[in-house]
């Protein structure tokens, strides 16, 4: 299997802009071409788009708008982890030898149809994500004594981290009190416990070992991949463990011969505050029931190890772009190019991206 590296990236500002999905994707691709040395359209074998937008034939459209005539072009949709699914598809094309260079671009609009899974009748009329997140939160509080204050520290940390991310949607510092007194959405979640849907796009460039050096002196290698889908419906799964993430992380650590203790920096899918807590526990960063204190300690020591760009809560959640923005961030971190939010000398990074009430997860391990 050929080694595969991330060799380029670009992110647009995440916003509430009412712009066509094609324009958003094109902006990220244009940025990637401007920021990547020695790149030309003829280098690119595969163009994969990632979105839940209802527009059709987007990959060929973006390819044509960008002057690319790729061998492989198609869209990848898997709700909120569309971006990492597209990344894994691009990895597979290069690892197998079908392609040497792949462009992956993800985007979403603020009004994406991917925010609610209508198919899942087991949720009854309670199909908005706030309801599954409330079930997770209440069950975790009940079993492990997690408090509203623990949740607030996730939000405070990620909003504060987003202050140093120029593309973030919500770069504003909030106190614990402000978060705990923000608008009550349910008995268990408040407004500032939630990530926000928004408009935005991110693009990354993947390359084989023989092509990587053309584009960068510091390629970042994808050394581990784990993916697991336990179901499409929410109600089949345990309410205090994200099984899809637990299994995906196990496979990613096995493939990369790493462990949670070796991860220097990570982007975690904090769609809601409870998600960051559960994911940290289920990937093995802490014991079950201990992630609330772990996050509190990160906040109090201003440690940016988890969600340095602000996560979904601080950076915003344009569904199809999110996983790609996470990969972009960890690549920057491992290259030492993350600016004010740079974690000190990271060697191994991790991306965790999930969809549809945590029923499907992707975990990637990246190494410099």
């Amino acid at each position: 299997m050929n080694r595969v590296a991330i060799v380029g990236y670009s992110d647009t500002k995440f916003s509430s802009d009412d712009i066509p999905i094609e324009s958003s994707m094109f902006a990220a691709v244009k940025g990637l071409f401007e920021q990547t040395p020695n790149i030309s359209q003829g280098d690119i074998d595969a163009v994969l788009t990632s979105t839940n937008d209802n527009k059709k034939y987007l990959s060929p459209i973006i390819s044509e708008m960008s002057g690319i005539a790729p061998k492989i072009s198609h869209n990848v949709e898997n709700l909120c982890n569309s971006g990492t699914n597209a990344t894994v598809s691009a990895f597979s094309y290069i690892a197998s030898g079908l392609a040497d260079v792949a462009l992956v671009v993800g985007a979403e609009r603020f009004d994406s149809p991917g925010q609610v899974l209508q198919w899942d009748d087991s949720r009854g009329e309670f199909k908005h994500p706030i309801f599954w997140a409330s079930m997770f939160t209440k069950a975790h509080k009940r079993k492990f004594g997690t408090t509203d204050e623990h949740l607030a520290y996730v939000s405070a940390k990620n909003h504060r981290n987003a202050l140093d991310n120029p593309t973030a949607y919500s770069p504003k510092e909030y106190s614990i009190e402000e978060i705990m007194n923000s608008k009550k959405l349910t008995d268990d979640l408040r407004l500032l416990d939630c990530s926000r849907p928004c408009t935005g796009s991110s693009a990354i460039l993947l390359a084989s070992e023989k092509m990587a050096k053309k584009f960068t002196d510091v390629p970042v290698w994808i050394s581990g991949i784990g993916q697991k889908t336990t179901s499409a419906s929410f109600t089949k799964n345990d309410l205090t463990t994200i099984e899809s993430t637990r299994l995906a992380a196990h496979d990613a650590f096995l493939m990369s011969n790493t462990s949670p203790q070796k991860i220097d920096v990570a982007e975690i899918h904090d769609a809601f505050t409870i998600c960051e807590i559960m994911v940290l526990e289920d990937m093995g960063f802490t014991q079950k029931g201990k992630a609330g204190q772990f996050v509190l300690d990160l906040y109090n020591t201003n440690d940016k190890k988890i969600n340095p760009r602000g996560g979904l809560i601080g950076a915003g959640h344009p569904l199809g772009a999110t996983g790609i923005a996470q990969v972009s961030e960890i690549t920057k971190q491992l290259q030492g190019k993350a600016g004010k939010r740079q974690v000190e000398s990271p060697k191994v990074g991790l991306v965790q991206n999930m969809s549809a009430a945590a029923t499907s997860s992707t975990v990637l391990v990246l190494e410099s």
Binding site: S122, G124, F126, K138, L239
Partner: protein
Amino acid sequence: MIFEAELKNGRFVVPECPKCQKLVWPPSDSCTRCFGNTVWRTADEPGTLVEYSAKDGKLFCMVEFENSIRVMGALECDKAPAVGQKVRVLSCGFDNSPRFTFSPE
């Protein structure tokens, strides 16, 4: 699907595969194991309250039936609910999505 039609008549039915003797959930006309046709029958009550929360003062919850089928719905009760308590379907219907209201046994 029969599930929706029966809900519109106020009946909560669940699909079971006669060959595999297995309940299928979320509701489907086909068995997830053998792909054969399912048959529909009334769900056994009571169910068990798995978890609950509230929005705008109105309770919503997850209830488990027959140790396998979990469904979300509204919860009406006079006293504070307790996880593990037995509940019944007070009413059900279908309006773009299934609608359930549960109440303590």
